[in-house]
Symmetry: C2
Subunit: 198 residues, 2 copies
Amino acid sequence: MKYYSDCLNRLVTQLSMLPGIGQKTAERLAYYIVKLPKERSTALADAIRDASANVSYCKMCYCTSDTDTCPICASKNRNHRVIMVVETDDDLAQMERSGAYDGVYHVLQGAIDLMKGIGPNDIRMKELITRLRGEVDEVILATSASMEGETTATYISRLIKPTGIKVTQLAYGIPMGADIQTVDSATLERAFRNRGSM
Amino acid sequence: MKYYSDCLNRLVTQLSMLPGIGQKTAERLAYYIVKLPKERSTALADAIRDASANVSYCKMCYCTSDTDTCPICASKNRNHRVIMVVETDDDLAQMERSGAYDGVYHVLQGAIDLMKGIGPNDIRMKELITRLRGEVDEVILATSASMEGETTATYISRLIKPTGIKVTQLAYGIPMGADIQTVDSATLERAFRNRGSM
């Protein structure tokens, strides 16, 4: 039987439609949210509404942003002659967390997936090509290590090479802290091929 | 550097204050939410606002509810002479999912935790005692198997016994599907003590 009432039920339904949130987590979150002080739950609802109303894409790198130009593209402290190509906003966020990179990005908002009928025109590929007409020293491919990511990387690489712009790709290899015995064969094979001198 | 803009930042902050949602999950959810069609994100924001505005506690069992009497307490198909005592709404939800129980509940909204200064008066204990003045055949203790849960169960059990009402407790033992070698000693010891004839 339905053991919670209408409002709660609606909140659980809404929450459980979010990615990675199942029925149980949605219930736990719903019980938590309704017990928050009213100003806290209102702040959450408002943040959702405002972000949804104001956010679109950065006109430079096509990351999700509520300003025409995102903070990274607008920054004078970033090297605008180096462009890292990623598939999603999450990939950008993860790279920023590493703190290793000071160039700018191009967010494809997807990857080429011919099985699903997603071609270069369905992602932000044209916009990338347009950007390359400016002053660019290097394009770093940081698409994921999946079939789609590799296809996308190969496509971009072939497209750019004739222009003379340097194209590189993030290194594949054994993740830091991993035991060799737990690393899969495909990764080990890559790590072997990409071995460096000491 | 801050790599997303104000609206997104506020949404990420709000989401990451929810239990079990860290910075990375909050970012993933935020990116997902802002890309939803406007009516979907509005529905989510409204659900939060409405639930937060309307929900309080069931006047019978003190579960979180937006009606004076929750669906379970209002149902004629439940046995109102059997009361299962749980600590939280989540515990109630989990028991309902099992489908094993057709009585009603009493949600303490906490457990006795003397280390944290939470005594019987800080949870819905008085309300339980009041309910026991009605027609009750059995009280089933379903507090958690922690120090606090056990303390609470013992407290309630001692309180009820003089009244002559039957008091039982959920069985402790080996979880279904578990290998003996993976079961902890405390559980095995309980399972041995509670062994039944075949």
